[in-house]
């Protein structure tokens, strides 16, 4: 299917990790290219001149940016391999809704709840609780957000599933506990222990080191 490169590969970013998950789910061979965010390569600046950020997927010389857009692209191009989004239009719409919700309402709020201070932190904690309650309801009765198998929303929620508990531990801010969010807690465990996901996540120790300095 042509040459595939992933800028930002081999790093610690959950956004890059989303793309890696999608590529590996589809069994796509690709070349991961590490990117130094403090010294951006000409390749990155050429293929993502607008945001200058990773991940960028370069497929046959054409660059695609924004992690969830890249994942949808992968799903559309590589039809063999498990579907990442459902086929039914209504289910697809719901999937896109939840991925957007996670990106806009969960990630920033939970990050700030852990890493900011004072009033901003208190406000972010409240926002996080509210947002996580909706996710808790959504995962009830389902193994993964995608049903029996990992899907688009599980990929989008990778930060919640893996990065957030590590940041929480480092910063001493507990957001998702088994008492408060039993279903989300159960999903996090299933997700992180899933053989496929486990093999793609960056090392916990390395992440702990990174977050200690933030």
């Amino acid at each position: 299917m042509g040459e595939v490169k992933l800028l930002g590969g081999l790093g610690f970013s959950p956004y890059v990790n989303r793309v890696e998950m999608a590529l590996k789910l589809k069994g796509v061979e690709y070349e991961p290219i590490a990117e130094d965010v403090k010294n951006k390569s000409p390749l990155l600046l050429q293929h993502n001149p607008v945001h200058k950020k990773v991940p960028v997927l370069i497929h046959n010389g054409k660059g695609i940016a924004e992690s969830l857009i890249i994942v949808e692209y992968i799903d559309q191009v590589w039809q063999e391999g498990p579907p990442i989004l459902p086929k039914d239009p209504y289910q697809r719409a719901m999937t896109r809704f939840w991925a957007k919700f996670i990106d806009e309402k969960c990630i920033i709020a939970t990050w700030k709840a852990c890493c900011s201070t004072g009033e901003e932190q208190e406000k972010s904690k409240e926002e996080s609780m509210e947002a996580l309650k909706f996710l808790e309801d959504e995962i009830k009765g389902k193994k993964f957000f995608g049903g029996e198998n990992i899907g688009f929303v599980d990929i989008a929620a990778n930060f919640i599933g893996y990065w957030l508990p590590i940041i929480s531990e480092v910063k001493g801010v507990q957001l998702i506990t088994e008492e408060k969010f039993p279903n989300l807690w159960r999903w996090m465990n299933d997700y992180c222990n899933d053989n496929f996901v486990k093999g793609i996540l960056p090392s916990k120790d390395a992440l702990v080191e990174r977050f200690k300095s933030k």
Partner: protein, 247 residues
């Protein structure tokens, strides 16, 4: 394809783009106007998370978030394509939709309702975004090529609602013809397009809504001594009584 309803707000660009998409596909639907100051049980039932319009109800099932709705409409109904078929072009379309929603519209809208240094900062931020759009539209009639596409719909605020709002509040020099000739030309082409023209809220009606909904912000500007003169000098028609007194 049975029952289709749209819960929306008359003045909202997000509602209008959903209606335009349905019309372009030739889909019949019932429209339900929502009073955003007094949200209906129907809205709260079908969009409990965001409690916002537009909501598309298709056979009783709700879909929310205007861009998610547009993709749904494109997948369910035959008719002119809203997104391109080619995977790369689709990815690019989605990229620009996100860019417009995240990087262009928020600072443009906020700039209308701020003053002084904060406004200058927002204007600069908005211009950075518009520069990329200016480049993207060069050589194209519409963002969708020869036909209206999802990116044109995403940018409808920029084409129609923004110029009216900016003029109303006296915000100058954000999207000028000199600085953004291609975007300016696109805005004109977009607003004169058959489907679009018939589906935009009329200018006077929209201005009336701005006056009533944002009265408190206008009064805040008036009461704030430092902002008062700045605001008044730039936008006499936002406060007609002073237009009379200061003529």
């Amino acid at each position: 394809m049975a029952e289709v309803k749209v819960i929306g707000s008359w003045s909202s660009p997000y509602t209008r783009k959903v209606e335009m998409a349905l019309k372009m596909k030739g889909v019949e639907y019932d429209y339900i106007e929502e009073d955003l100051k007094n949200k209906s049980p129907l809205l709260l039932q079908h969009n409990p998370i965001h409690k916002k319009v537009p909501v598309l109800l298709h056979n009783g099932k709700p879909i929310v978030e205007s861009m998610v709705i547009l993709e749904y409409i494109d997948e369910v109904w035959e008719g002119p394509a809203i997104l391109p078929k080619d995977p790369y072009d689709r990815a690019m379309a989605r990229f620009w939709v996100k860019f417009i929603d995240d990087k262009c519209i928020p600072p443009m809208w906020k700039a209308c309702w701020s003053v002084g240094e904060e406004q200058e900062k927002l204007k600069e931020e908005a211009k950075q975004g518009l520069k990329f759009l200016e480049n993207e539209i060069k050589g194209k009639k519409l963002f969708g090529g020869d036909n209206i596409g999802i990116v044109d719909h995403a940018a409808n605020f920029i084409a129609y609602w923004f110029p009216i709002t900016a003029d109303f509040v006296g915000l100058q020099r954000l999207m000028t013809e000199e600085e953004f000739p291609n975007l300016y030309r696109w805005a004109d082409d977009y607003c004169s397009h058959t489907f679009v023209k018939e589906n935009l809220p009329d200018k006077d009606g929209y201005i009336a809504i701005l006056k009533s909904r944002y009265r408190s912000i206008i009064i805040w500007h008036y009461l704030s001594l430092i902002n008062y003169v700045t605001f008044l000098v730039r936008s006499p028609h936002a406060f007609p009584i002073y237009e009379y007194e200061f003529k």
